[in-house]
Amino acid sequence: MCLGIPGRITEIWDDRGTRMALVDFGGATRTACLAYLPDASIGEYTIVHAGFALTVVDEAAAHRTLATFRELGLLAEELGPDPLPATPLQSTPLPAEEGGR
């Protein structure tokens, strides 16, 4: 019940005085109650727990965080190229791919 991933609000309606929304999680859609997000609007991303939207994902903040990561990368390059090979995070899916081909 706690594995909240962001989904996109695609529809909003009123159910007997309660704001409800349809939320698209990359293809799978769920109904969510918007009672705690009175200002949420269609197109925004939200995190849903137990059928309730709890927060709107702030896209600008997401971009700022990613920009920080990229700056860290530039910094590392300036300090000298890192001899480490690609991380296993990247290579994890590879064995399966190799096996499949």
């Binding site: 909240g4 705690y36 059928g51 997401a62 990229r70």
Partner: protein, 368 residues
Amino acid sequence: MRYLTEFHDPRLAATLLDTIAATATRRWTLMEVCGGQTHAIIRNGLDQLLADQVEFIHGPGCPVCVTPLEMIDRALTIAARPEVMLCSFGDMLRVPGSTTDLFTVRAHGGDVRVVYSPLDAVRLAEAHPDRQVVFFAVGFETTAPAAAMAAVTARRRGLTNFTMLVSHVLVPPAMRAVLASPDNRVEAFLAAGHVCTVMGTAQYEPIVAEHRVPIVVTGFEPLDLLDGVRHAITELEAGRTTLVNAYPRAVRPEGNPSARAMLEEVFTVCDRPWRGIGMIPASGWRLSPAWSQLDAELRFDIADLTVAESADCHSGEVLQGRLRPPQCPSFGTTCTPRRPLGATMVSAEGACAAYFQHRRLSAVGGGR
């Protein structure tokens, strides 16, 4: 929309890993509080990638795992009554009580339903006025707002056949309990980001100040977790104890004010025993007196049950970070997700289930 997938970007992950490696002068012990984060760490192998810099201690943040045995037994007792329809999250069905589980009660004719949202239980109560519908409300600050709204909706619709068995738990008192333990080794916390979407960040300030421990509010994607680690290590290496919000796209300092107001209206803080851990003062929510008509414990006479945990299950030590799941003698042998001995093997957020799903093959077969 693309920015969402970027939080999985392997190149940026490599950057963060390099930064962490360059910052850490020793190995630090971090606790990720939330079971969802435990699964993400194990699934992505972050503990292995950071083996030289970080020892992860897995925290007690699995709501299903810490729901006290006597609460499970109360749910089982209520569910066995002929007039009752007991509704719960799917995870709860296979959690072992002291003698049986909800799944078995259902197999023997009990009316046990899985719901996705507490509002579904309210709808069932409306649709079945001849049944006593009981919602088994478990979970942390992330799920409690949903239960609070179910109570409000049931009252608004004048339902008299809807009650709740409430066993909500709170994260900050559990973090205090971990820190107060004489054998505590946690040097910094990755705080559960989604709890903070509701409660905000201010409640961690006193913990940081009193225990001189950095707390980093952290998200759930691989890059979020690496960034949480980066912040924690930066603080530790600098000898600073600060509260950091590393998940600003989802967490505002004030949390969700309307959810907090509703929680305050419907629930009161209470002492709560945690399964495997024991009593933690002021660590739970129960219905406040104004809502006692909705309290299933009052509607149904539940005798005080004395209960004992299976002696073969070490989930208490797992939940307190004293034992890693593979070190439990029952792990993967007499205890598997199909036949779990403890709640930590059942839940999608339990640490034993995380290791079983993502590490069993490498442990047994020696890797690929």
